[in-house]
């Protein structure tokens, strides 16, 4: 192949690279600009954190607390693994994220239990079965429970 032909191909390569990378970069920028007006004033993690942070004055500084939600504890991780629902796991993780360094166990078997029912009430009879008595209802599906008896 002649040097002139090689140079022509190299120019084509550089042009292709500059055009395609430029398109990709500007396209990403455009997506950001387009979605900016639709951004909520507060992001979902901060909203969840503010909500869960109401519990802090009532919790001990370092002890573990339990956790219950709309579905049974065994379904929180299973729903995420099967991609059917990632929200329950996200809500549990964000509760732990907010309450750290306290440990939030995915279990109702602790003296104090966080009830996070933003997606609806727990299964019928679940609270009674686990001896969970409301200690304080913060509204918006957030309730702190005290465990009265063990089954």
């Amino acid at each position: 192949m002649s040097p002139a032909h090689t140079t022509y191909l190299q120019k084509a390569g550089i042009t292709l690279l500059v055009v395609l990378t430029g398109y990709a970069i500007l396209n990403l920028l455009w997506q950001g600009i387009r979605s900016y007006p639709d951004l909520p004033a507060t992001d979902p993690v901060t909203i969840h954190e503010t909500r869960i942070a109401q519990l802090l004055p009532l919790l001990p500084a370092s002890d573990a607390v339990g956790y219950v939600t709309t579905v049974g504890n065994d379904r929180i991780f299973a729903a995420e693994k099967s991609f059917t629902n990632v929200e329950f796991l996200a809500q549990y993780v964000l509760t732990q994220y907010t309450l750290a360094p306290r440990i939030v166990r995915n279990s109702p078997d602790l003296p104090l239990v966080v009830g996070n029912f933003i997606d609806g009430p727990p299964p019928a009879g679940f609270l009674e079965k686990n001896g969970l008595v409301p200690l304080k209802d913060f509204g918006d599906g957030l309730i702190l429970y005290r465990r009265e008896r063990k089954h």
Partner: protein
């Protein structure tokens, strides 16, 4: 608050830059050389200062953290100013002299600058959308930082908490760097993890540009950086505050330093020691970094045996491991004293391994995922509910292949062995990742869908770097003269220097 945070950043930066000057004596008259020290040194500095903070946590000296950081900076700075302040005493290899600037690099610099601004704005938009980062940021990295910072004297408790889903066996460079920033400002701030994410994203970009500017030409550096900026997943994962981008940075730093070591006269060990430090930082950032450290060490040993016999091999590998050792000691302590067992390997017996290794359906599923994700991962995060589908987009590995096909392949004679070695390292990393999927106890489809794109992204800056290390010269094609004159001949390298090799299209 800002003052103390800036102080924490500057102390990290200064430690890393001083290390580069101490171990890799200065070259003359090159902005790219200073830029390389800034970008590589800053990242290495975060590795060093995260280790110092870890030692402070272990010894209960966190209140003296800033004094200890400052002391280390002075310890590194004093020998530099005593031993190396006179250029004549440095003994470094002069860099290529810059000739008359040509229009082509200036044009590329202009386009690059516009694209850099666009990428910074895209990063900011992504941050504004999710200021806490994405899923793994608050499930793992920022969560661990909170436990380390909020835990006080009981910071160790989290590792024995039984919260396996948060992967407490993951190394601590990123959480420690975030918690260190909070320690400096005396409280938590969302901006610190975000700034760390921003810094590592754009350090990677800067390192790619400056590394190629040093080793090839500025035009190669600009074009490579454009490819990385044009990778939507790179920007979105950077803003997502995951540890994959810091890991990609340290992998790239290791390879660039190995290339610089191969180019240095008499193969001075300084760059090799720094490469070891960078590889050690990989192991301190993510578990995949341990595999990288192992593979680089093995490849270095093999290459040195091939090139110079066992004595030379052991000397060079020892130099590399000496650089990695300080951080490796942290990793070993962490893994043996604090970390719970890894979820991929706990309760994993030979029978289960043998069953998976002989299940060829798994190989087919993984190979298919590697193919589809390999062509598509650059395009952003996949919707795990939809699964993987082919979407190469504008910038992918295909673009690099087409570019190499058009621009031709030109490998400097001095770089042949090290380029081959670096390619082998990346290839072995891919093979390693492949077999981790073969053996995974997790559901295979779930594991592939939630991690493969990130694993490939870890290698992507290094792949781009190697691609442009072997690509034909853009300057000669545009103006038929280089912006930077050829390096002064070195008698060792000219023996193996080959004329330009162009792979012609058929």
């Amino acid at each position: 608050m800002i003052f103390f945070f800036v102080a924490s950043l500057l102390l990290s930066l200064a430690s890393g830059i001083l290390l580069t000057f101490l171990f890799f004596p200065s070259r003359k008259s090159a902005a790219a050389d200073l830029a390389f020290r800034l970008f590589a040194g800053a990242g290495l500095g975060f590795g060093v200062t995260s280790c110092l903070y870890f030692v402070c946590l272990l010894t209960g000296l966190t209140r003296y953290l800033s004094a200890i950081d400052l002391g280390v900076c002075l310890l590194l700075g004093i020998p530099y100013f005593i031993l190396f302040r006179r250029p004549a005493a440095r003994g470094g290899q002069p860099l290529p002299k810059t000739g008359q600037p040509s229009r082509f690099p200036i044009l590329l610099a202009g386009i690059f600058s516009i694209e850099l601004v666009a990428s910074v704005i895209s990063f900011v938009f992504a941050f504004l959308k999710e200021p806490h980062g994405r899923w793994d940021a608050w499930l793992i990295w920022n969560m661990h930082a909170r436990f380390l910072f909020r835990g006080g004297e009981h910071w160790r408790d989290a590792f024995a908490s039984g919260l396996d889903w948060s992967h407490w066996d993951y190394p601590l460079l990123l959480p420690l760097s975030i918690a260190r920033g909070w320690q400096y400002i005396g409280g938590e701030s969302l901006s610190i993890p975000a700034v760390m994410a921003f810094v590592f994203t754009f350090l990677t970009l800067g390192l790619l540009w400056s590394g190629l500017s040093l080793l090839r030409s500025r035009s190669h550096g600009y074009l490579a950086a454009m490819v990385l900026m044009g990778t939507p997943l790179f920007i979105s994962m950077g803003a997502a505050q995951f540890a994959d981008i810091p890991l990609a940075f340290f992998m790239l730093t290791t390879l660039v330093l190995l290339l610089l070591h191969a180019r240095s006269p008499e193969n001075q060990p300084g760059a090799l020691i720094l490469a070891g430090l960078a590889a050690g930082s990989c192991a301190w950032t993510k578990n995949e970094g341990l595999l990288f450290l192992l593979i680089v060490t093995g490849s270095l040993l093999c290459k040195a045996v091939y090139a110079g016999g066992w004595r030379s091999a052991l000397n060079r590998t020892a130099g590399f491991l000496a650089g990695a050792l300080p951080i490796l000691l942290m990793v070993i302590y962490f893994k043996t004293q604090l970390s719970p067992a890894n979820d991929l390997f706990s309760g994993f017996g030979p029978a289960a391994a043998a069953a998976k290794l002989t299940d060829f359906g798994r190989y087919a599923e993984i190979a298919k995922a590697f193919f589809i994700t390999g062509l598509s991962f650059t395009q952003g995060l996949i919707d795990v509910r939809v699964g993987m589908h082919l979407n190469p987009g504008a910038v992918s590995i295909l673009l690099l292949i087409v570019y190499l096909f058009l621009a031709g392949v030109r490998i400097d004679g001095r770089d042949r062995i090290i380029v081959f070695q670096s390619t082998a390292v990346l290839g072995l990393m891919l093979i390693g990742y492949f077999f981790i999927y073969v053996l995974t106890p997790l559901d295979l489809s779930y594991h592939l869908a939630t991690s493969l794109n990130r694993l490939l992204l870890q290698l992507w800056p290094s792949v781009i770097f190697l691609c442009f290390m072997v690509a034909g010269s853009p300057e000669t094609s545009i103006e038929d003269r280089p912006a930077i004159a050829p390096a002064q001949p070195d008698t060792r390298s000219t023996k193996v220097h080959k004329p330009r090799i162009t792979r012609e299209p058929k």
